[in-house]
């Protein structure tokens, strides 16, 4: 009788153990990451409650960002045209290189502080960060891939299955999750540690030309390049005549409103010294050529911004001081942050040798 009892106990233990072994022991518990708003900055516009940041989500987003398989020929990743040392623009390229020797039609903007941005692209055509990657992925002169195909490529990859499961709880791979993971990575790209920021925090002080430049900046530039983002994210015509080859009408392409003809988003001036060339089509070689444009070559048309109808008078002295100030907006810790670097290139982040001033 005692013997039977012992057998029963053993049997129960065995069953329990077997159950434990065969059960799926995956516990979905991604590690939350807090989004830190730099001191004195406004609250971000991105709705983090719909896409909570996690270490796993960010890691997946980074892998996707640097994966050439998102393009048709397997060689062009997001990171190909958004290079860290150029503040995630295409360094030293007016237009970027796309699929099959094509060129893009606009200058790749730097990627940073995206949580504060409402609309994306030079014309503001995209209304949500999660949706933004679909545009370059599908554009014929960029990654030229079909979104369905991208998803099926990702589904065949074992590593992605593991990473999607770690980030979202199961192995399902779809656009929604791809877009959210990419957003999680891109939202990490916060640039808030330039010399300017340190001065504002009381940790450093401007040298004289920088201070003079800042004073001129506050008089002549700040109504569009508003602090602390150095853009008000509005769309304005600053007198760039239409390029006869690109025929880019800017914001009007989205709104269909002739009043928006030749208007483009005001770009942030953070990291401006490393993000040349300038302008929506990269037509300005250097900061100097932008200022020359503002004071001399602006073409005044019916939609030219009301603040610029008399062009922007700038003396040589002012240009010099402004340049000194604009250099203080370079955030070298951001440009070298290993968390954002392409895997395998973590130690290559260095100041570019050739700056166009």
């Amino acid at each position: 009788m005692r013997f039977t009892k012992a057998i029963w106990i053993l049997f129960i233990i065995l069953i329990t153990a077997a159950g434990w072994v065969t059960a799926d022991n995956f516990i979905f518990k991604p590690k939350p990451v807090k989004f830190i708003v730099p001191k004195g900055w406004p609250q971000p516009l991105y709705d983090f409650s719909k896409n909570p940041l996690t270490e796993e989500g960010i890691a997946l987003g980074k892998k996707l960002f640097y994966d050439g398989r998102l393009s048709k020929d397997g060689t062009i990743s997001c990171g190909s045209c958004h290079q860290q040392f150029g503040a995630f623009n295409t360094f030293d390229h007016p237009l970027s290189h796309g699929f099959n020797n094509s060129l893009t039609v606009r200058n790749a903007p730097g990627l940073f502080n995206l949580a504060w941005q409402k609309d994306f692209m030079w014309d503001g055509g995209i209304n949500h960060l999660d949706l933004q990657p679909l545009a370059p992925i599908t554009n014929e002169s960029e990654m030229a891939e079909n979104i369905e195909t991208v998803i099926s490529k990702l589904r065949t990859d074992k590593e992605y299955k593991i990473m999607f499961k770690a980030a979202f709880g199961d192995e399902m791979i779809n656009y929604l999750r791809m877009g959210k993971a990419l957003s999680q990575f891109m939202l990490q790209l916060v640039s808030s540690n330039s010399k300017y920021d340190k001065v504002m925090r009381g940790e450093a002080s401007f040298i004289l030309p920088e201070q003079l430049g800042y004073d001129i900046f506050k008089k002549k530039c700040i109504s569009c390049h508003t602090e602390p983002m150095f853009t008000d994210y509005s769309y304005r015509n600053t007198g760039l005549p239409v390029d006869p080859f690109l025929k880019d009408m800017g914001r009007m392409k989205i709104t269909g409103n002739p009043a928006d003809s030749l208007k483009f988003k005001v770009p942030s001036l953070r990291n401006v010294a490393v993000s040349f060339p300038y302008g929506h089509d990269g037509r300005f070689f250097s900061m100097m050529s932008v200022m020359e444009h503002y004071r001399k070559s602006m073409v005044i048309g019916p939609t030219t911004d009301s603040l610029m109808r008399n062009r922007l008078p700038l003396s040589n002295f002012e240009i010099g001081q402004l340049t000194a100030f604009l250099m203080t907006l370079t955030d070298s810790s951001f440009l070298k942050d290993k968390r954002f670097a392409e895997p395998g290139f973590e130690n290559n982040g260095k100041a570019p040798a050739d700056l166009h001033q």
Partner: protein
């Protein structure tokens, strides 16, 4: 031993109690209705790839016809509107299953069914969606965020475009260029809880506006032309 049996019995009762409390006894009575969509050109059934003629006498072959349906409500006998949980469906002529939509509605008599042709603006600004709204369905503009509410494509000898194609991708959700249209249909008789809804393609070409393939072969951006099409397709539905 008896004690054990009692415990097992009691726990079964307890679990059973849970099962009951989870059933829909407390919910108001509901029923299922099925909407069956039929696409036609006038009185003739639409067959993709068949040569036919539109109401303006233009020869054409329709290759694609898809539209979004969403935000259903029913109007009861007193004229009160009962809004159903928000759902989105893509009716695609090429996919028979997509033409049959089942809705769960309160078990009441109703005189009208209302829905949106298209995707409401809220959903157009809420990031990536899944299911019927998945951007992979080919009904989403990636360069100018927003859904294509309805799509009609085909060939016509009168279309002065590559491949003699006519391509109507109708979208736009912002104020002034909104192509979402509210559809309201009086429901008289329902048999077997089925409502048959007809969509007449002819209305695209001649309704509020007259739009000839010979003059207009392409629309793929929000704006005045898309509005003209939207004002036309607003009239395409009827109860069969």
């Amino acid at each position: 031993m008896r004690k054990l049996a009692a415990i097992i019995f009691l726990s079964l009762v307890w679990v059973g109690g849970f099962c009951f409390s989870n059933s829909d006894i407390s919910l108001p009575a509901s029923k299922k209705i099925t909407l069956v969509f039929h696409n036609s050109i006038g009185k003739e059934e639409l067959v993709l790839g068949n040569r036919t003629q539109n109401i303006l006498g233009e020869n054409m072959t329709v290759q694609k016809f898809k539209y979004y349906i969403s935000n259903f409500s029913i109007i009861d006998l007193t004229g009160k509107s009962v809004v159903l949980p928000v759902q989105y469906f893509l009716v695609d002529e090429a996919d028979t299953a997509s033409k049959i939509i089942t809705l769960t509605i309160p078990d009441i008599s109703f005189t009208k069914i209302e829905f949106l042709l298209g995707v409401d603006s809220m959903r157009n600004v809420s990031g990536i969606q899944t299911g019927a709204l998945d951007p992979g369905k080919g009904m989403f503009w990636t360069w100018n965020s927003g859904y294509i509410m309805a799509k009609l494509e085909g060939e016509s000898p009168l279309a002065n475009a590559a491949g003699n194609r006519f391509t109507y991708h109708i979208g736009g959700f912002r104020f002034g260029v909104n192509t979402v249209r509210k559809i309201s249909l009086a429901v008289t008789a329902i048999q077997n809880n089925e409502i048959h809804i007809n969509a007449d393609l002819n209305q695209w070409f001649k309704s509020k506006n007259e739009l000839r393939i010979a003059e207009t072969n392409t629309c793929h951006t929000p704006g005045p032309l898309a509005i003209k099409f939207a004002d036309n397709y607003a009239n395409m539905f009827s109860i069969r």
